[in-house]
Every structure is written in structure tokens, then in C-alpha cells.
């Protein structure tokens, strides 16, 4: 049974258990609010979401009023606007109004609503109550009690989502304030989300504070590559630099949250980047080369060899497009070569978002035809094969060679190897031993898809162009294959995807149809909702 009601003259059918604010938001009518959050319990304390209900003498809060049949709701009547203005006046009585130095300025609920409903001429004559400023809440969160409007979103997050209960409201009246419980720190692995949900500048991120004013930032929808979950995110960037990552709502994957490890994963994007191609010269030194020359060198090294003596060492960090062309390249041009997929060290896992597999595309890589993740035995076998000379050449893709083999073993192996080609977005330990270095683009610099552990294909977008000579990995494989004599014609990532859609079971979907929320691999029986 659904309920029928009228909001702002629009006939709406709402779920039985919906509140008015939910029904309105689903119908595209936005009601201003602070304490209401779609993924938290209802607190009903900010009074910003007032609406007029015909037949009721006073205004009601829409976040805590269930819908009923034949309700007539006005969200923008003069009485409602008057009410909102009053609420804002009270919220701002003790507010410091330090917008110019507040990090939230530009994305602040108080600013936004005050522009629409504010009183503009303050009637407050008295001294404002002063609170605690720059309070250290934990490794990443700073609190300012003067700016806090006591909406309790942060408290409810720690109680209901992470169940870590670090925060509470202490004291009462105009000295009431948010604080951490004695001896506790706001240091749970998801603490950064409190900064996102704080509607004002009371909670700010130490990492992001003062780096840039938010109005300079551009936003690109993307997917976190930090683990196999692939939380949906927005990349906030300016001038070819990422400043922060924010979770993007996807109820099937991450709701509206992300973990702190993923949140700060952007830092590695600007560290140690491999910007130019390089090839070893006759004197034995690595010298910069054009991409064309480096690829030609790599093709020469691959061509003159029995493919059975070539090993490819890759991590499932690449996109489906990368993995597909890598699988195709090895199958068609280097038949019989040995491919080893390296998972890397497993990390933290919990029953919320974090997955132990720290690769974004382990599932997709296998679907694209690359082998299953290798065991330590496989790595030992590979090392032995190099030692005995069965493997003469190694192609390393986005891996830390010294971590895989151990520094000493790797030094021994490089002496044995006749050739080493390294492709990656950063200089990783061991890359310096390469004969040819091929720079590839990081995920924020390119379009592509990952398949997460649930079997959900998720699309991400290029925020800015790849730096230096780096290119999306699939493009490197295409050029390499063509140098080896193939006739591949993939002008862009969508062409690669079209090929995947035609050939890989379960992936038969249009690139555009994947959309911003991703879609499940069609033939695979996956749990329909997130927590698999």
C-alpha cells in the first residue's frame, strides 16, 4: 500500500513508511534540513525542515512526520519561509560568522539557506557565547564548538554506523557542546565521514584544512581503487591536482560513506610519478625516451624471444579495459607466456566497507581472461624459473618487484634476467632495474571500469589529462600489439569496452548504460544488495 498526498500542488505517491521529507526528496522537491540524513536515524532537533500541513495550526517538521493519505503539504508558503527565517536566526545567535576563515565556506548549509531565507539585519545585541575552537578530536578531525549547530549527525554516525560511540553532547543550554568521551579519540576507520556530514564548519578535516577554498574545486565522479569494494566517490580537483575524495551515494555499495584509508589514498597519486618513458642506453644507464621509441624498444625485446621464456607479472589494479587488452595481447602476440597475478598484502577487513583484498579489480581481471591471483608458491616457482634460465624476460605491470621477491632475491634475479620491462604510474621499488619504462595514467586521469567483489561493474571518469607522457594502460597495450604485428583499432576506451561487451560473458552492456551507479554482471548470481 502506498500513500497518496499532495506536496506543493504535486500529486505524489509515497512509500507507506516514508516521512514527508523523504517523499518530497524522492519527488525532486528539496526541503531545507540540517539534522536529517537519509542514512541516519531521525533526530528532529534542528527545526529547519518545517513545512505547513493543511488542517494543522502550527508548522510541522517534515523529517519526523510520516506521510498519510490526502495530506496537503506546502514547503514554500510565506508561513514556512517565516518559520525558517526564525530558525536560522536562532541557529546563528551564537554563531561566530567567521566565514572568511572557515573551511566550510562555499559548501555550508548555514550560508546556503541564509542566502535564501536569511534575515540579513541582525537583531542580536548581546555578547555571543564563546566556545572552544580548534579542538583536536582525532587523527584527522578538528572541532569548533562555536560553529556547531548541535544537529547530532556526527554523534549518530558514531553510534549507528560505526558503533564506536566516541562522541556525545555534554552540558546543556547554551553551553551544550559536542565532545569526545573522556579518554576517547575520534579515530575509527571511518571517522572522516563525520566531516562530510557535518552541515556546517564545526568538523573540518586536518588533511584538507586550508589547502584550497572549495569554490576552486571541480568534481568528477569516480570509484575508489583502495580495495575490492570500490566505494563510489567524487574526486575534488583543481589544476591537475587532487585535493580530496568525497563519498558519492550508492546504496548498493557504500551508502553515503567511505573509509579513511580510501579517502587519503589520493596522496599517492602525486608521489613518485613516472612521467616520462625511459630506455636503457648502450652505456647501461636509463635515459628518457619518447613513448614511441620506448615502445619500439619494448617490442624488439619481446619479438626476438620464444614467448615461453617471457613472464608477465601484474597486479589487478588495472581497469577492465586494461586487463582485457593485456589478456588479449598475451594470448594473441605472446602465446605460451607465463602470467602471474599478484594480489599484494591483504589488509584490514570488517563487516562494513573495508575488504581485505586491496585491489580494485581482482574480479574484473579474472573475468577479462587473466589468471587467478597467485599464491606465494607461484611466486617462488617464478623466481626458480628465472634462476634456472627458463624465464629470460619479465614484464612488470604496476607491481612492487622488491616486495614480491624480496630485495636480495630480486637483485639476483635481475642479474639473471635478459630483459625487464616495467609499466606503471609510479616509480616503484625495483622499477629502476628496467630496460624499458612505460608510464601509465592513474585512475583519476582516465576513463574506465572496475568490477568490484560483488560483481558490480562501476564506471569512473577522467578528472584531468594524464601528466607527462603517461597514457592509459590499454593504449600502451594496443600500441605494443600493433608494433608486434597486430592490427588492433581501438580509438578510445569505449571501443575496448564494446569488444568486452561482445566477448566476455555477463558484460554485454552498453558503456553508457553502466551509469553512475554501476550495474551487476548480468549472468552472475550476485547478492542484490551491498553487504556480500
Amino acid at each position: 500500500m502506498a500513500k497518496k498526498l499532495t506536496i506543493d500542488g504535486k500529486e505524489i505517491t509515497a512509500r507507506d513508511d516514508a516521512t514527508i521529507i523523504q517523499a518530497a526528496h524522492e519527488a525532486g522537491i528539496v526541503i531545507p534540513h540540517y539534522c536529517y540524513h537519509p542514512k541516519l536515524s531521525v533526530a528532529g532537533n534542528c527545526r529547519m525542515c518545517l513545512i505547513e500541513l493543511e488542517g494543522r495550526p502550527k508548522l510541522e517538521i517534515s523529517c519526523n512526520t510520516p506521510v498519510a493519505d490526502d495530506m496537503v503539504v506546502h514547503t514554500n508558503s510565506p508561513k514556512v519561509i517565516e518559520g525558517r527565517r526564525g530558525v536560522l536566526e536562532f541557529l546563528l545567535i551564537n554563531h561566530p560568522l567567521d566565514c572568511p576563515i572557515c573551511d566550510q565556506a562555499g559548501e555550508c548549509g548555514l550560508q546556503d539557506y541564509y542566502m535564501s531565507y536569511g534575515l540579513y539585519q541582525s537583531r542580536f545585541q548581546e555578547e555571543k557565547v564563546h566556545g572552544r575552537k580548534v579542538v583536536d578530536f582525532g587523527p584527522d578531525v578538528v572541532f569548533d564548538s562555536e560553529r556547531c549547530i548541535l544537529c547530532t549527525r556526527c554523534v549518530r554516525f558514531c553510534d549507528e554506523v560505526t558503533h564506536t560511540n566516541e562522541l556525545g553532547i555534554f552540558e546543556r543550554g547554551d553551553t551544550a557542546q559536542i565532545a569526545t568521551f573522556p579518554g576517547k579519540q575520534l579515530d575509527n576507520p571511518y571517522a572522516g565521514n563525520t566531516v562530510d556530514i557535518c552541515p556546517v564548519g564545526a568538523l573540518t578535516s586536518k588533511d584538507f584544512r586550508f589547502k584550497i577554498r572549495v569554490w576552486f574545486l571541480q568534481e568528477t565522479s569516480s570509484v575508489c581503487p583502495g580495495c575490492a569494494r570500490g566505494c563510489n566517490i567524487n574526486v575534488h580537483h583543481h589544476d591537475g591536482r587532487v585535493y580530496r575524495l568525497k563519498p558519492r551515494r550508492n546504496d548498493a555499495v557504500n551508502d553515503t560513506w567511505m573509509c579513511d584509508a580510501g579517502r587519503f589514498g589520493y596522496k599517492s597519486l602525486h608521489e613518485n610519478r613516472l612521467l616520462e618513458a625511459a630506455a636503457r642506453n648502450d652505456a647501461g644507464g636509463l635515459t628518457p625516451a619518447t613513448m614511441q621509441d620506448a615502445l619500439a624498444r619494448a617490442a624488439d625485446l619481446l619479438r626476438d624471444r620464444n614467448p615461453a621464456t617471457i613472464a608477465v607479472l601484474a597486479a589487478p589494479q588495472g581497469t577492465n579495459e586494461d586487463c582485457y587488452l593485456l589478456a588479449k595481447l598475451t594470448a594473441e602476440m605472446l602465446p605460451g607466456c607465463r602470467i602471474t597475478m599478484i594480489a599484494g598484502e591483504p589488509g584490514d577487513e570488517d563487516d562494513f566497507l573495508l575488504r581485505a583484498d586491496k585491489n580494485p579489480n581482482s574480479r574484473g581481471a579474472q573475468d577479462m581472461g587473466l589468471p587467478a591471483l597467485a599464491s606465494p608458491d607461484d611466486v617462488a616457482q617464478l623466481a626458480a624459473a628465472i634462476d634456472t634460465g627458463k624465464i629470460e624476460m619479465l614484464v612488470a605491470v604496476d607491481v612492487d618487484l622488491k616486495a614480491i621477491f624480496g630485495t636480495e632475491t630480486f637483485a639476483r634475479l635481475t642479474a639473471k634476467l635478459q630483459a625487464l620491462i616495467v609499466q606503471g604510474s609510479a616509480m616503484r621499488p625495483g622499477s629502476e632495474a628496467a630496460q624499458v619504462l612505460l608510464p601509465s595514467a592513474a585512475y583519476v586521469e582516465r576513463h574506465g571500469t572496475f568490477t568490484n567483489f560483488q560483481g558490480r561493474i562501476q564506471r569512473f571518469n577522467a578528472a584531468f589529462a594524464p601528466p607527462g607522457a603517461s597514457q592509459p594502460a590499454w593504449r600502451i597495450y594496443r600500441r605494443l600489439a600493433n608494433l608486434l604485428g597486430a592490427d588492433w583499432n581501438y580509438p578510445n576506451h569505449e571501443a575496448v569496452w564494446a569488444d568486452i561487451a561482445d566477448t566476455v560473458p555477463g558484460y554485454g552492456i552498453d558503456y553508457a548504460a553502466i551509469g553512475d551507479q554501476g550495474c551487476l554482471i548480468s549472468s552472475v548470481d550476485s547478492p542484490p544488495s551491498g553487504r556480500g
Binding site: D98, P100, I101, C102, K133, V134, R209, F210, K211, R213, W215, F216
Partner: protein, 165 residues
Amino acid sequence: MRKLTFWQRLYLPEILRGMLVTTRHFWINVLRQRHTVTQQYPEKPTYVSERYRGRHRLTRKEDGSPRCTACMLCATSCPALCIHIVAAEHSDPTVEKHPASFTIDELRCVFCGLCVEACPCDAIRMDTGIFALAAEKRENFIYPRELLLGDAMPENIAEGKAPAP
């Protein structure tokens, strides 16, 4: 084109008329010097209106620290994108932030004054009256915080006027 008459083609009467004007002004200038409009620049400093938008300076609080709070509103309003500020945490926890670095590329600046208008705390002014910026290297036109605060003398720069007190 109209044909010139014989007298006009001689040019002499016109030349004489012109010389007459010149000679009159010569004697006026020699005899009544204070009415001359010529300025003895750069020997004598020239007059600059109070509202003249000259080179920027950063003002200070009473305790001598910069007034600037690193809010970046000037950088936001600047149409030439020539103000670059790096904000940092202040050592005093009651102060939110301060400009760890504040540079203005005076070569890109169009001297529009929007930065002064945007500043909410009167931290940047263009009232120095300095208009003759000169340097031998482009880099010397990128004025750092110390120079804008008046702590350092511009290296390699000959200026038209000493900085306002």
C-alpha cells in the same frame, strides 16, 4: 583633394604663424615659471592622488603580525589570477590560519583594485603610490609576503617613490 593656392603652397606664412605661438610660449615660460606644466620627474617626486592604485602592500595588526587571515577572497576576486596564497595553521590556537606565503605577480596584475575591495579585514591596500616598478628579471616582479609587508627591500628594483610610511 582641394587644390592649394599659390600663397598656401609657399608655406611661409603658416610657418611664421607657428613660430609666433612657440615664441610666445617660450617667453611666458621664461618669465612666469610657476605656471609651467612640465614636471621635474624623477628629480622631484610627482604628485599622486590619494585614491591612486599603486603597488600593493600588506598591512599589520598592532602587534606587528600581518592582518591577513589567508581567506583567499582577494585571490578569488582577482581577474588576473596573480595572487597566490598558501594558508597554514597559526601557532596561536585562537587564530584560525595565517598566510605562510603570499605572493603577487605584479606583471600579471592589472591594478584593478578588486583585491582591496574584496578583503574583509583591510589587510591588503594599494595606497603606496608606487607606480614605477622596474626590475631586470621577471622573477623579481613576483612580490613575496616580506616585500609586501615592507620587511625587505625589493632586490634589483628601482622604484619611483619610497614606500609610504
